[in-house]
Amino acid sequence: MITLDESTLIAYVDGELDAQTAREVEHKLAADANARKYVEHLREVVALSRVAFNDTLHEVVPQALKDTILGSSATQGSQSENVVAFAPRAKSEWKRALPMAAAVACLLLGLGGGYQYSETASTNAVKLASFSMQQDQVAMNSALNQALEVNLDNDTHTWVNPNTGRSAALTPVHTYQDKSGKFCREYRKDTTTGDQKETTFGLACRNDQGTWKTRYLILEDGEGQNL
C-alpha cells in the first residue's frame, strides 16, 4: 500500500515510478482532491522550470567557446580525474514525457519561453521502397496530422493498415509556442512493419490552415534530420 506523500507524488510527476506503482497512485489520486491539486502545482513548477532558462538556448554561443573546441585536435589525456562513463542512452529515454495538458503548456510558453533544437546536418534520406509503402506513408502522415491537431500530450493515436500489416502509434509529447506565436509539438512515432519496429521523434509546427509540418526528425540511431 502506498501513501501519497510528497516524494511519491514528485516521483510520479517525473515519471519515475514503475507502472504498477503509478497506477496505484492514480487510483488514490482519483479520491484525493488535495493531492490532485498538489500534483497540478508540481507539474506547473516543473513545466515552468523546464522553459525558464530557454533564453540561453536562443543566444548566440560566444565564438571563443566554439574556437576552444574546434581548435583542439590531438587527444592529450593526462589527468585521471574520476569522470565516469555513462551507459548508452536508452531509446525510450530520448525525452521523458511530462504529462501535461497541451493548453497548459501553450499558456506557459506564451509567457516568453522559447524553444530551439540544435541543428544537425542532414545525413539520412528517407527512401520509400515501394508504391504501397508510399500510400501508407501518405495515410500515416494524415494520421500524424490528426494526432497533432487533436490529441493531448501523451495521448496516443493509432493508425493501422490491415492490408499491408503496417501500423503506427503517434504520440504528441510536448507542446510549445515558438517566438512567432506558432504552435509546435514534439511527437513520437512508433512504426511497425511486419516484425520490424522503428521509433522516430519529430518536431512539427502548425500553419494557419491546421497543417502540421515536421521540421526536425530524430531517427532511432540518433541521427538528426532537418526537414
Binding site: 501519497l4 506523500d5 510528497e6 516524494s7 514528485i10 516521483a11 517525473d14 519515475e16 488535495n34 493531492a35 491539486k37 498538489y38 497540478e40 502545482h41 508540481l42 506547473e44 513548477v45 516543473v46 515552468l48 522550470s49 523546464r50 525558464a52 532558462f53 530557454n54 540561453t56 538556448l57 543566444e59 554561443v61 560566444p62 571563443a64 567557446l65 566554439k66 576552444t68 573546441i69 574546434l70 583542439s72 585536435s73 587527444t75 589525456g77 593526462s78 589527468q79 580525474e81 569522470v83 565516469v84 562513463a85 555513462f86 548508452p88 542512452r89 529515454e93 525525452k95 521523458r96 499558456l107 506557459l108 509567457l111 516568453g112 519561453g113 530551439q116 540544435s118 541543428e119 544537425t120
Partner: protein, 184 residues
C-alpha cells in the same frame, strides 16, 4: 578530439550554457565555467566512452568544475561553508505573485535554492535527465538525489503558490497564479 566529437560538443553548447547559467546564476560566469569545462573535456576526452551520453559527461565536468570554483572562491573570500538547507531565502513572494507567474519569477525562485538543490533541479527539471542519470552525474546515491529534489520542489511550490503559508497536501487548494493569469 575527433571532428565528430567536436561537432557534437559544439552542438550541445547551448544546453551546456543553460546548465552553467543555472549553477552560476550569472551569464559571464556561466561562460567562464563552460569554457573551463570544455578545456578539461578536451584534455581528457579519452575518458569519455563514444556511444555514451556526451551531454551527461559534460554536465558532470561542469558540475565538478563549478564546485571547485566555489570552494576556491570561499577560501579566498573567507566565507563559511554554506550548509544545505540553511540558506536564507531572499525571494520576495508577494512581488512574485503580483508579477503573476512569469518565467523570470521561476528563474529567481530557482536561484534562491542552495547550490546542491539547484544542480538537481537543473538536471532533472530543466535538462530532463532521469533520476538515475542525474545521480550518476552528481555521483550521489539515489536517496540523496530524491531528497534534494523533494526539498527543492517543495520550496519552489511554496514560493510560487503561497505568499507566507505552507503548501502541503492538506493546504493545496488555493488558486494558483497560473489560473489567475489564465482568466484575465
Amino acid at each position: 578530439m575527433d571532428a565528430r566529437t567536436q561537432q557534437e560538443l559544439v552542438a550541445i553548447l547551448p544546453r551546456l550554457r543553460r546548465f552553467a547559467l543555472g549553477l552560476t546564476r550569472n551569464g559571464a560566469e556561466a561562460d567562464d565555467l563552460v569554457q573551463a569545462a570544455c578545456e578539461k573535456a578536451i584534455t581528457r576526452i579519452e575518458q569519455w566512452e563514444p556511444g555514451t551520453r556526451l551531454d551527461s559527461w559534460m554536465f558532470r565536468i561542469i558540475q565538478t568544475t563549478h564546485i571547485d570554483l566555489i570552494r576556491g572562491k570561499k577560501r579566498r573570500d573567507g566565507y563559511l561553508e554554506v550548509i544545505e538547507g540553511q540558506v536564507e531565502s531572499s525571494f520576495d513572494g508577494e512581488r512574485a505573485a503580483e508579477a503573476s507567474m512569469t518565467l523570470d519569477a521561476v528563474r529567481r525562485a530557482i536561484y534562491t535554492l542552495p547550490d546542491e538543490q539547484r544542480a538537481v533541479v537543473m538536471m532533472v527539471s530543466v535538462e530532463g535527465l532521469s533520476y538515475k542519470e542525474a545521480a550518476e552525474v552528481l555521483q550521489i546515491p539515489m536517496g540523496t538525489l530524491t531528497s534534494r529534489l523533494v526539498r527543492a520542489r517543495t520550496a519552489l511550490a511554496r514560493m510560487m503558490y503561497e505568499q507566507d503559508g505552507d503548501l502541503n497536501l492538506t493546504n493545496a487548494d488555493k488558486i494558483s497564479p497560473l489560473e489567475r493569469g489564465a482568466t484575465t
